[in-house]
Symmetry: C2
Subunit: 187 residues, 2 copies
Amino acid sequence: MEKHSIYEPFGVDLDLVQGILREPDNHLIRKASSMKGHYADAKALDDLIHQGDPLHYEVFEKEVPQAYGHLMFGISKLQPGTVNGECFMTKGHYHAIPETAEVYLCLCGKGYMLMKTTEGECRAEYMERGRIVYVPPYWAHRSVNVGSEPLTTLFIYPADAGHNYGDIEQEGFPKRIYLRHGKVEIV
Amino acid sequence: MEKHSIYEPFGVDLDLVQGILREPDNHLIRKASSMKGHYADAKALDDLIHQGDPLHYEVFEKEVPQAYGHLMFGISKLQPGTVNGECFMTKGHYHAIPETAEVYLCLCGKGYMLMKTTEGECRAEYMERGRIVYVPPYWAHRSVNVGSEPLTTLFIYPADAGHNYGDIEQEGFPKRIYLRHGKVEIV
């Protein structure tokens, strides 16, 4: 009689230079059209969508049970670019179980992890190759690419955490990150 | 009125080539003398201890609350060497909350993650630079260095998981890993 179901260990290769996860189980694609409502200049985003709706970001994950105790991990790859100066970013989310943290290890590119609490606190933590960012429980988080190449990060979070995108769609973040004349502005 | 305590985000630098975590909060050192009872040849280990009790492995961690939802992360650095042919290894442990997983990313060296369940299942997952090993819930795990340089891994696990070393001290692992005439033997 088994007390609990046993999940098999596994290994997977990660190209640490290019940030490529070999043989991901899930591949999520977000184009510019997925980002409506997130940028300050809605018209500029519409123009971008009409000009071919370019790839915005991708998530590559290994599949594990979305259950307490398991850890989800994968690669987030965010393209460089701006929407009328506002740097390309991910939608951002709270965890559905808000008291769960997430660890990010940046492998390529330059950017920020933008974080906020429901109480209105906001932090921007710089990311470049080799930088680990700790997103503690209760902090919504979004990646922002301020560089000229994809911003690629390895993420790990509790597999039962879930994603709450809706609150961010309503609230937005208190700060936006722009690239103007080659200079980063967090405003 | 705050609903819950808010923990501040932070970043930390990891040298991805050498596997060095900058400014760790905790530094655990295990010498050969910490490993009594773990190797097949107790006399050979005693000899090693009397010959200067060399460094066996180190753990460098960032400090986060050991509470549900947080994630502990750090670097494990295991020296190369053998005890009469049996490769240097870590003590190995179950998690005190056994239904918690752990993710390892190998940065340097060559070795195995040796894993076992209380039911007697045993797996050895190869590790080298860029290899991620998923240690699912309920699997005890130990690193084994089969190379000629330190085996260095980044680990991430639920911060409330805790460590249960005692059961491994009693049970050991069903398999041992030897290096004989330059060849790895898992027996």
